[in-house]
Amino acid sequence: MVSFFGLFYKPESKSVDLAQNQGVQIQFIDLAEFETPSPKSSSILPEVVTALPPKQMAEIPLQAPVAEVKKTKVKSEPAPEVVVKKDSVAPQSNLPTQSVIPAKFTPQVAGKFPVPLYPRWAKQQGIHGQLLLRVTVGASGAVLKVKIEESSGNNALDEFAMDWVAQRWIWPKGIENTVLVPFVFELK
């Protein structure tokens, strides 16, 4: 069924590099746990996080311009002693969820990054999970490649997220970019 969805990008871009996935441990830090950074420590700039080498990635709100960053692997960075377990944080009840995240993502540039509705088929079957996509955007704003960096464990859910990003997100022109997009499908 993969090919049925290949409307906006080439089917081969859906390759899932299993070797690359192996060992990549991404721990999402629940932003709800952190207090909103005060103006002193934070500007209104987007929340962009550098991808860390395997086993060192963490989701961190920080100040940085949206820089054009080419995709090359950083393999030898020293590991920080930071481990934040998702289990240990409070639920995200205070956190704005839908639509806010993409808005924070690139506030200076045009583009649309809608958040999908939870697919009914997944909801009914209790399918949930987290996944990480690597999205390569060309200078024209077209999505060149969407790849699964880390699978949710459910192929259909992975494909849903890939299709969504490839077909529904509109990127600004003139900026070549590769970003990692984490998805969290949450059922209570």
Binding site: I101, P182, E186
Partner: protein, 665 residues
């Protein structure tokens, strides 16, 4: 605080990282997570949120013989149990037209509310999700919400592109020799999504502790096909489905043959403009007919043909207010021909405007939900003969404007406890049967007489719920009082007219007890409780103890007499857990005796029921397999259901084992 410390460590670390990233221009940026939340119960309420959803494996483990059985273990639910094949759910003592059952949001047109021996025309084998709505959200489907609304979803019209999926499901049971097979396939071709399903189900006569009850077998099959055209922000789909069933109703040599065909159209568009979050529309037409065969000869034929349609406008969030408003319009023609023609042909039309809203208040511990529904309902009969006299044109029709409102005030007492106070005022238009019945009704062994001058059924309800959903001890406790200033019941009034037709001879007498539809003041009160102690909770091992109970009492306020067929309630203990990848549950329930009975009723003894179930999810080569095993009435107790019309003749099923295997490819 610890979290703050972690945050600053991370900030420092991250700053150095981003500098490094800029230096080497190497690593891709990672954005904040895209969080997609499923409609959750409680915290993530929207104006249409059901108070309970059953789907997937949670639905799979429940008994599937009929809709009543599927829901029977939920707090506040009992069943009308006219044998294993006709059993409607009863919630808080309310049933029939007071407890609306919809299929994908539009009416299931059948004859199940006309008589307790008529089955609901939706088989659990083709239902993929059951929603129970209460309070303001229920008003989007019905003006009569004090029991709730049950919405059945069959997935036949896809609302989105679907991943490829093929399911084979089999079930076998000991107590009625159940054999059920169903298949379904889903997928997408380009912008088209499709769903197809089919099932076959056979049961033999039911075994009970007092022996096999004859004339309770059934033979059903059904199928549905639907497809949708899905574009980015919209979809439109069509489905066609059918259900055939031949079933016994415990009467010697009587079988009911049911045939239902249904077309549905549905579509939706999200964010059509700044003012709307979505617009959804649905329409269905149903062609329902059932014939009651006596010794193979067709006796009476019930027909219900009609349509129902609705459009829902989900409003864009405006400040702290979210809402949905809509219109619904439907019509059905109901007729009975043959021996049991106790109802004239009727044309029933209704149209409604409704809305449901959720509003956050500046005091963040408070949230309001409120809703309204205003209907216009008309019943027009032809050939209405009342007590031997032809009804005039004017007398043969009736129209009503039921208006219902509901307000729920939610207050977070602290981080864990939430209380909800719900106030509702509801009205229901009398139906074709309550207005125009006049004749012998063999299903209930009575001569039924309607009342053309009945006014709307009116009630007010107040309910207080206190719930705690987090932590090792979770609980919900609710207490309700529903006060009807007018509640339509059947009241004994001597005997029906003598008839010479041999068809009316029942039990050697030609005289049938006459029951008139009358309106009386009535009180319903009761409570429901569920409390879970999670003793152990790890991803691989779980253990919990659940305490549950419900109670309802219904009284004719003038005479202080009980209303008939009210199951009083139960208390029970459930032990449940997960070990070695097996999910298991054991229940021990004491059903209360009913000593508070109506004049012509007998009391019903209490009884205990023990049951158990186990499920396991596993991989069978390339497919996901779900194995379920259910044991019911382990003690083989002889027990009778007070809400059944024929309780004295029909005990509940005996000890049984039911096993199922569902394979998903």
């Amino acid at each position: 605080m610890k979290s703050k410390a972690v945050y600053s460590v991370l900030t420092i670390f991250a700053s150095t990282m981003i500098m490094r990233a800029e230096d080497v221009k190497s690593a891709p940026q990672k954005i904040t997570p895209v969080v997609v939340k499923g409609t959750a119960i409680g915290a993530e309420l929207n104006p249409t949120s059901p108070s309970l959803i059953l789907s997937g494996n949670a639905l799979e483990i429940l008994p599937q013989s009929n809709l009543g059985d599927v829901l029977a273990d939920l707090p506040g639910v009992s069943t009308s149990y006219f044998g294993p094949n006709s059993s409607r759910p009863v919630i808080r003592g309310l049933e029939g037209d007071r407890l609306k059952i919809t299929q994908n949001g539009t009416s299931t047109l059948d004859a199940s509310s006309a008589s307790p021996d008529h089955a609901v025309s939706a088989d659990p084998a083709s239902i993929r999700e059951i929603q129970i709505l209460r309070g303001p959200a229920a008003l989007i489907y019905s003006p009569s919400i004090l029991g709730g609304v049950i919405n059945l979803i069959d997935n036949r019209i896809p609302v989105e592109l679907l991943p490829q999926q093929f399911i084979i499901n089999s079930r076998f049971g000991s107590v009625d020799q159940l054999s059920m097979q169903s298949v379904s396939a889903e997928g997408s071709f380009g912008s088209f999504a499709f769903h197809v399903d089919a099932f076959q189900k056979k049961t033999d006569d039911l075994s009970t502790p007092i022996g096999v009850i004859t004339d309770t077998s059934s033979d059903s099959d059904g199928a549905g096909l639907g497809f949708s055209y899905v574009k980015n922000d919209s979809f439109i789909g069509l489905s066609y489905s059918g259900l055939n069933s031949t079933y016994g109703v415990t009467e010697p040599d009587v079988k009911i043959g049911l045939r239902q065909r249904r077309w549905e159209l549905a579509g939706g568009i999200s964010s059509p403009s700044d003012n709307f979050k979505s617009i959804n529309y649905k329409a269905s037409t149903t062609d329902y007919v059932h014939t009651e065969f006596e010794s193979g000869q067709p006796g009476s034929t019930f027909k219900n043909n009609g349509f129902d349609s609705r459009i829902d406008f989900e409003l864009a969030k405006s400040g702290s207010l979210e809402g949905l408003v809509g219109l619904q319009m439907g019509k059905f023609d109901f007729s009975v021909v043959g021996d049991e023609a106790f109802l004239p042909d009727t044309r029933n039309t209704s149209s409604a405007a409704f809305g449901s809203f959720v509003q956050e208040l500046s005091d963040t511990s408070l949230r309001l939900r409120y809703g309204f529904r205003i209907e216009s309902a008309k019943v027009k009969s032809s050939d209405w003969v009342h007590e031997g006299v032809d009804g005039s044109y004017a007398a043969s029709q009736a129209s009503f404007v039921p208006q219902s409102f509901s307000l729920a005030i939610e207050k977070a007492i602290n981080a864990q406890w939430v209380s909800t106070l719900t106030l509702s005022t509801t009205e229901r238009a009398p139906n074709y049967q309550e207005l125009f019945a006049d004749g012998p009704h063999i299903g209930t062994d009575s001569y039924e007489v309607g009342n053309r001058n009945l006014d709307k059924e009116k009630g007010i309800g107040i309910e207080l719920e206190i719930a705690k959903s987090q932590g090792p001890i979770s609980t919900s406790f609710s207490i309700f009082y529903n006060r009807f200033s007018s509640f339509i019941i059947q009241e004994r009034n001597g005997y029906g007219p003598l008839t010479s037709s041999a068809d009316y001879q029942l039990g050697g007498t030609e005289e049938l007890a006459r029951y008139d539809f009358v309106s009386v003041p009535a009180d319903f009160y009761g409570s429901e409780i569920k409390m879970n102690f999670q003793i152990q909770e790890t991803p691989t091992t779980k253990l919990g103890l659940e305490l549950f109970g419900d109670y309802v009492r219904a009284t004719h306020r003038d005479s202080s007499e009980a209303l008939p067929r009210i199951s009083p309630g139960r208390v029970g203990l459930g032990l449940h857990g997960l070990s070695q990848e097996w999910n298991w549950r054991f229940d021990y329930t004491y059903h209360l005796p009913q000593n508070h009975v109506a004049n012509d009723e007998t009391t019903t003894a209490g009884y205990t029921m023990a049951g158990a179930s186990v499920t396991k999810l596993f991989k069978l080569s390339a497919c996901d397999a779900l194995f379920t095993l259910r044991l019911a009435n382990l003690l083989n107790r002889e027990a009778y259901n007070h809400s059944s019309f024929i309780k004295t003749q029909l005990p509940l099923p005996g000890r049984s084992v039911e096993a199922g295997l569902k394979l998903t490819f």
